[in-house]
Symmetry: C2
Subunit: 669 residues, 2 copies
Amino acid sequence: MADTTTKTAGQAIDERAVNAIRALAIDATQQAGSGHPGMPMGAAPMGYVLYTRVMKHNPRNPSWWNRDRYVQSAGHGSMLQYSLLHLTGYDLSMEELKNYRQWGSKTPGHPEVNHTPGVETTTGPLGQGISTAVGMALAEAHLAARYNRPDFEVIGHHTYVIASDGDIMEGVSSEASSFAGHHRLGKLIVLYDDNHISIDGPTSITFSEDVLARYQAYGWHTQRVDDGNNLKALEQAIQAARQEDGRPSLIAVRTTIGFGAPHLGGTSKVHGSPLGEKEARAAKENLGIDWPAFSVPEDVLTHYRRALPLGAEAEAAWQQLYRSYRKAHPEAAAELERVMAKKLKAESLAHLPVFSAGEGGIATRKASQQVLNSLAADLPELLGGSADLAASNYTDLEGASAISRDNYGGRIVHFGIREHGMAAIANGMALHGGVRPFVATFMIFADYLRPALRLAALMKQPVIYLLTHDSIGLGGDGPTHQPVAHLMSLRAIPNVTVIRPADGNETAQAWAVALRHRNGPVVLALSRQALPHLDVPADSVARGGYLLAKEAGDPQVILLGTGSEVQLCLAAKEVLEQEGIGARVVSMPSFELFEEQEEEYRETVLPRSIRSRVAVEAGASLGWQKYTGLDGATVTLDHFGASGAGDVVMDKFGFNVETVVAAAKRIIG
Amino acid sequence: MADTTTKTAGQAIDERAVNAIRALAIDATQQAGSGHPGMPMGAAPMGYVLYTRVMKHNPRNPSWWNRDRYVQSAGHGSMLQYSLLHLTGYDLSMEELKNYRQWGSKTPGHPEVNHTPGVETTTGPLGQGISTAVGMALAEAHLAARYNRPDFEVIGHHTYVIASDGDIMEGVSSEASSFAGHHRLGKLIVLYDDNHISIDGPTSITFSEDVLARYQAYGWHTQRVDDGNNLKALEQAIQAARQEDGRPSLIAVRTTIGFGAPHLGGTSKVHGSPLGEKEARAAKENLGIDWPAFSVPEDVLTHYRRALPLGAEAEAAWQQLYRSYRKAHPEAAAELERVMAKKLKAESLAHLPVFSAGEGGIATRKASQQVLNSLAADLPELLGGSADLAASNYTDLEGASAISRDNYGGRIVHFGIREHGMAAIANGMALHGGVRPFVATFMIFADYLRPALRLAALMKQPVIYLLTHDSIGLGGDGPTHQPVAHLMSLRAIPNVTVIRPADGNETAQAWAVALRHRNGPVVLALSRQALPHLDVPADSVARGGYLLAKEAGDPQVILLGTGSEVQLCLAAKEVLEQEGIGARVVSMPSFELFEEQEEEYRETVLPRSIRSRVAVEAGASLGWQKYTGLDGATVTLDHFGASGAGDVVMDKFGFNVETVVAAAKRIIG
């Protein structure tokens, strides 16, 4: 508020600096005609304290390894972060703030990593930011344990979060917070913007739990700051949280949404709409903001830009430490630099297991385990685990220990029965860098983690998903556990590469593709049941689809299959060719990789002229018509599964040679 | 354990009765060669106390309205429930228990509603059962408030849950439990099977939170029973929970997984695998089970079957009460009977709004609001709300009040920022009966609630989903909020009917379809942006796809569109026909409904002979090839969106007349 009391010069500049954020939030949302001014206006003091008094960051080098991470989980209040980035000297101009929420700007409605310098993760879908931050803190703890040496704390930073009521209500944050408490991630500090308002009104209409008590139950250190405008109290609470390094910290900060807006402040009306011209003017008057729109008084800017020399000094000191570390520990440094640069070790893919065709067979989930373990020694950055299904997903690394509060250097992560939290934590690990996370569960539970998987795709983060029990072939657990829509639904998400290998050899190649892939998550869909080994030419999986078995004579029909259904295609081919029908078998482990091939290659596999095509996959038909068109057929599953022995269920639902043969004859005839 | 102390006759029969459950769980999993014996062996005393001493249920009439509901959230322990159903006299024979997990049996791996008499909801995916139970308790409280009259408590029952560690770890249960605590659903009683074991080992490897403290923070009444075999303590705790009718109750019951198995009991090895012959024998000996496999001693069966006369009496008493109620309150009774029978009121669809073509336009989300409000007075069973986006989803019922702890008779539900919990709660409401739930959020957040939506589909529950902001057309909120894969991913789920209306009139028809649809969830995909009103013939939406604008002359190309993109098809048709190209526009609001039509009808809309087809939808292309085949084209979106004004984003990504026209010409030419 415009003050009438006497202030010190420091207090005065602090207040103007905080109000500069509020002013920019008001201006940008007014200009855009949309957006969320209330959160930035209420949380401005928190952001100010973090960026100017607490955080170790260098605005000139947002990718400095050892910076503190800031995650604005309340992504809708993006103008808070954009204002702070501009004010402290990141490469984000006033022009960009004027173009808030406009096409082509660096200031989208919600913060996007790799789009705006200084943004660490993409937020907006509530609950994700805080959960992603848990992964960042986990990665930090792991790398510190792995690479720091006596007198050389080359990894050592905090992860700060501002979270909203929505973040706290979402189940994913409950999962991740329980995980963080269990693992005692003491360098994770969450400021909870406790403003008592959500979109539909006061939070009291549906949210009356005791949040601090809940977080205490998770094993967190908790504090309360009663006045969100009290900078000193904020700073003290954050310092206390830093000192409590054995537990993550939650600080509930009582704020007023839209602070300063005389009529709308403290109400849900200021959550998701601009103030309107009149209220904007009144708010500025009320706050003592007497400078023009989209400007920053020089004293305020000077005050903020002290972040530049401070950041440069902090990084320089670290660089000096790092140079000494590299001399003292050249091997550790070389490895650390390699993993931070996301480079594979050259020899890492040289020892992939090979499975001899004809020699029985194993489930692709088991093949995956062999592959994973063949890679683990060469790639210490490979780190992950399962959501309490390790013995079914086959994710354990032989001889490795689990990450725990007493052993952050472990490599197996026990995520617990928290699929969504797991995926969000993996995003944070990948974003942090230095680790290559893999996660696992049954494919059916991909639905539980889908929002975080989508964010991995949007952020182009290379998280590896091992989704086993990939069809009705899993058997007795029944339809609650049998995926039907999952394969196609995952293929529909942009930037997700889905690979469903047909045997151990395709599985090995799929892992190689996954490790080389840097621009998004890769899903390996793996069978519960054993599958015979196939003769798979090198680099076939990387092509997405390939000619697995050439037709005898002229091709009259193409049988396309994935995973466990490829063997059905091979068997059907034999039957058809006994009847003189030339049948080609195409193994199609990945739609996405196949689409990336040149048309010439695709034409050799699926000649346009051959319209008689049968797709065979124990999943939804929708999407297969991309390859089978209006003249082909699908042997697929457009209803839910059933409990029963896996082979019986498969057969009853038409996944047998007869059905494939009949479909082929029907479309030829 | 085999006892050496002296017992009363009552204690002896209790122990044999509890062990009869354990024996059947051992036998069935041994016979199946798979399944989960550990949970039923540990939790048998809880189940025994519930089914024989606590619950009001009539095994001869599992659909008696006023029965207590039992939800086994730990669905993997299905043999606990199957044993109890068999033992207390439900229509589930010993033969069915012998066929556990086999094709065609009534005893699938996880309990399935409408498949096995006495099963109230399908469980297995963890966290769902307990959250669904919250919805049952909410429906009960609502109906009681709505229909009970002084001296006539015709609705009044409890909802009991047995939940596992996994249920408690999953985020969805956190959301639903917070909601239940807020709403003080005192008739919800959860027994938490606190056995310290999950699949990967002791829960201590990843789960060390204080569960009771967490539930207290949610506003629940909590208790602890230290010995899960102490029947008296269990019964007392449940009675205390019943007396505490102002808060939901959680009772943490310390049990031993696989209780009685001398070597594997208390370990994760007994969680998900049969004991093996030797250990099974040893366990039976240890427990004093001296009767043959798949049998029940006569005294034990007699003891259990007392449930039959008790249940018959309980229902008879209620029937008598109900007959008096019907006489005293015939109108209330008639309405209650109608809503319990899931019948629409005849006139309810008579007042749907009509929007005149050419008179401007509105967003389909707003049209939906008008439709909803036109229905609300006639259909008091219509009950629901939004996950904190009511003012954006337009779900508020005019003049209605919100459900709250002080007003269970309200009709608006404030679900909070808990999409997943919302969907699971809605499942419980639908399963309970007497209410017709609708839920709402942005379409992007359908990912958050997908596991519960899938269960609604699997259980064929008619929950209505209003998913607004259905494309990149939402604009400035950016790619975090712009659905791309969502439409197609929802279409891929069996039993889900997705309808994306193109204007207000299609929206009104879509609502009519949704209300008449009884066999699964219906999703209405609604626009944020205004759309012009169209001339929509009656019952067009029910057909799924229809000829909206006939070609001039011969049809050379078919333009298929949904929702906001239908207008692009109409505009493109005009341009094409100015150039002499006959273009037909097919509005295709629902793939599923179209596929249900007879081939003859489908052929009139999409003649097989016309292969030049362009699909236009601001979503993933995958799946559209079902209609466009190998010779058609799609104007769709196979990458993420971007922040910017909605019309700009649409245009930049090719959703404009030029692109549609060009695509049409390309495939014709």
